[in-house]
């Protein structure tokens, strides 16, 4: 029991980047445990994916060709059978929305402890030590897993993507999928967040978060955006509340934006938000909390009340 099994992530015909990051994280672990790194590729054009994912560090690739799209029952069955065949010490999965739709079920089936959303991993052959955040990124913790085997989901963009061409053997894994146990089926996909504006095209974004407190208060943000000739965007709670339409949401489940200037006002900088704006050229944060995680990626910051700073800033441009 020294091997590591990582599970690739893909959606609608595309292998997602976290798959290559899983290879890096898996290789690092396998180097410590002294075992091989196996990569599982389940559903979709598996041969095409296998070729792409065959990067340096992978020892074996197991493909399971069953259906085009993700189905958590197929994944759960395939991974538990692979686990029985390979007997890995650690299983790594992506902390993606789909990862969270099968990983906990796999852990339950296999009676493995599960750690989700790891941002760092260390092992000494016995204990697995995972780093993860708590309280929306305000603190980081180390969690020790005291078990022979464990399942971990990793946060995307925390490990570098594996590069280079690997020489792993690609092999179709012989699974038996019990069709009767499949109790859900995908009937379609929809793109949401279309409409009048495309915030990903904007050069300057004035982005507002929960710090605004009330819908009426949005007026001062609109005035600022107008004065700066900038586009208005927001964090998720503003959209959840129905104060702005979905096409204004920045983040993991909204839009990825890369403006010249991103002004984050009353936004804490949760990982799912940061995923959508960290590529901005210049990031300015206005937030009363000097410890807010947004400060880690901001270039400039004002630690003050937005209700004082925003009107003063608007005035500068009128």
């Amino acid at each position: 029991m020294t091997d590591v099994l990582a599970v690739a992530d893909h959606r609608r015909g595309e292998l997602r980047d976290v798959s290559y990051e899983l290879v890096t994280a898996g290789r690092e672990l396998a180097d410590v445990t002294g075992g091989n790194l196996h990569l599982a590729i389940i559903s979709g054009p598996v041969d095409d994916f296998a070729e792409k994912a065959n990067r340096e560090g992978v020892d074996a690739i197991h493909t399971v060709s069953h259906g085009e799209e993700f189905n958590h029952d197929v994944y759960t069955q395939a991974i538990t059978q692979l686990y029985d065949a390979i007997a890995p010490q650690y299983v790594l999965a992506p902390n993606s929305v789909n990862g969270l739709d099968y990983a906990p079920a796999v852990a339950d089936e296999l009676d493995l402890p599960i750690v989700t959303d790891a941002v760092g991993l260390e092992a000494d052959g016995q204990t697995l030590i995972a780093n993860r955040e708590m309280y929306g990124g305000k603190v980081e913790t180390t969690v020790e897993v005291d078990a022979e085997s464990a399942l971990v989901t990793i946060r995307s963009a925390e490990w570098p993507t594996a590069e280079g061409t690997g020489d792993a053997e690609i092999e179709a894994f012989d699974v038996e999928i019990d069709e009767d146990a499949i109790g859900s089926s995908v009937t379609g996909f929809e793109e949401v967040g279309g409409g009048d504006v495309d915030i990903s095209e904007a050069d300057v974004l004035v982005s507002i978060g929960r710090g605004i407190e009330e819908e009426e208060n949005l007026d001062i943000i609109r005035e600022l955006a107008d004065a700066l000739d900038a586009t208005l965007s927001s964090s998720r709670p503003i959209v959840d509340n129905g104060w702005l339409p979905k096409n204004r949401q920045v983040g993991q489940s909204g839009k990825v934006v890369t403006p010249d200037v991103y002004i984050a006002i009353g936004i804490s900088g949760a990982v799912q938000h940061v995923a959508g704006m960290k590529g901005s050229d210049t990031i300015v944060a206005i937030n009363t909390d000097p410890n807010a995680p947004i400060m880690d990626i901001a270039d400039y910051a004002i630690h003050d009340d937005l209700f004082d700073v925003v009107p003063a800033l608007t005035e500068q441009f009128q």
């Binding site: 852990a107 880690d296 700073v309």
Partner: protein, 267 residues
């Protein structure tokens, strides 16, 4: 009575942290902590209550793992319309500082087996430790179907099928049909959670809040020990080289304005 559904909603009280805080050992010092109903669970309660108002659910029951202190939070869910509550607690849970997914699953499984709900609506994650795994783990343990990160649920549930939207990354939603009984983990934004009315708050005081111990549930203490240990807590190292502007709002706004002008904004 109609043959409507029984809906079980796991409700968590989360710890909230003040802007300035200190860490003591492996926890944030008590005086900097507050407590609140988990944001995601608020949406799950609302969805359940709406199913009841639409005549699809007969009963909405909440279940919370937590000490007596969290009864105020449980009453919040009752005030919003849940019919009754179960609180699971035991001396054996007192010393456990990180109740892992497996342990929570064991406890909730016992409750599901006793209540036999048709639908379990949990939150996607709890806002404090953000594991995001208990709902799906529970579904697997009790042999229910499931869907994670659900931001839309059609209120017809005909033929024992739930038609849901799963929110994937990048503004893509997956439409999925899920057989009941099922666990759905509910994402924020699926509805607009109501504020409790004064009448609701008064009524909540009289609703059943049943406390269950491990023995009551027939769960062995060893089941909640878990394999995970929180061994360290620290403030994240930052590689940030942020320039912080100091002074009153007029000063800081002036400095920001200067920067923006340099960048050619509004010109």
């Amino acid at each position: 009575m109609s043959n409507g559904l029984c809906v079980l909603v796991p409700v968590t009280e989360v710890a909230t942290v003040e802007d300035e805080f200190e860490i003591e050992g492996t926890a944030i010092a008590d005086q900097y902590l507050g407590a609140d109903l988990n944001e995601w669970d608020d949406y799950a309660v609302e969805e359940a209550v709406q199913l009841q108002e639409a005549g699809l659910a007969d009963e909405v029951v909440t279940v919370t793992i937590g000490p007596e202190d969290c009864e105020q939070t449980i009453r919040q869910a009752l005030a919003k319309g849940a019919d009754r509550a179960i609180r699971v607690w035991d001396d054996a849970l007192e010393g456990v500082d990180l109740l892992d997914v497996g342990a929570k699953t064991e406890l909730l499984k016992a409750v599901v087996e006793a209540e036999e709900p048709d639908l379990v609506l949990s939150g996607v994650q709890s806002g404090d430790d953000s594991f995001g795994a208990t709902g799906v783990s529970l579904a697997s343990a009790v042999d229910f179907q499931w869907g994670a990160v659900v931001n839309g649920l059609e209120h017809d549930l005909e033929d024992g099928v739930a038609s849901v939207r799963r929110e994937l990354e990048g503004g893509v939603e997956e439409l999925t049909d899920i057989d009941l009984p099922a666990v759905l983990t509910i994402q924020t934004g699926i509805n607009e959670p109501r504020y409790a009315s004064l009448r609701g708050i008064r009524q909540a005081q009289r609703k059943d809040l049943d406390v269950q111990t491990l023995a009551d549930l027939g769960v062995d203490a060893s089941a909640v020990e878990g394999d995970l240990e929180l061994s360290e807590m620290y403030e994240p190292e930052t590689e940030s080289d942020v320039t912080v502007w100091e002074g009153g709002a007029d000063d800081t706004a002036g400095q920001l304005a200067e920067l923006l002008r340099e960048k050619g904004v509004a010109q």
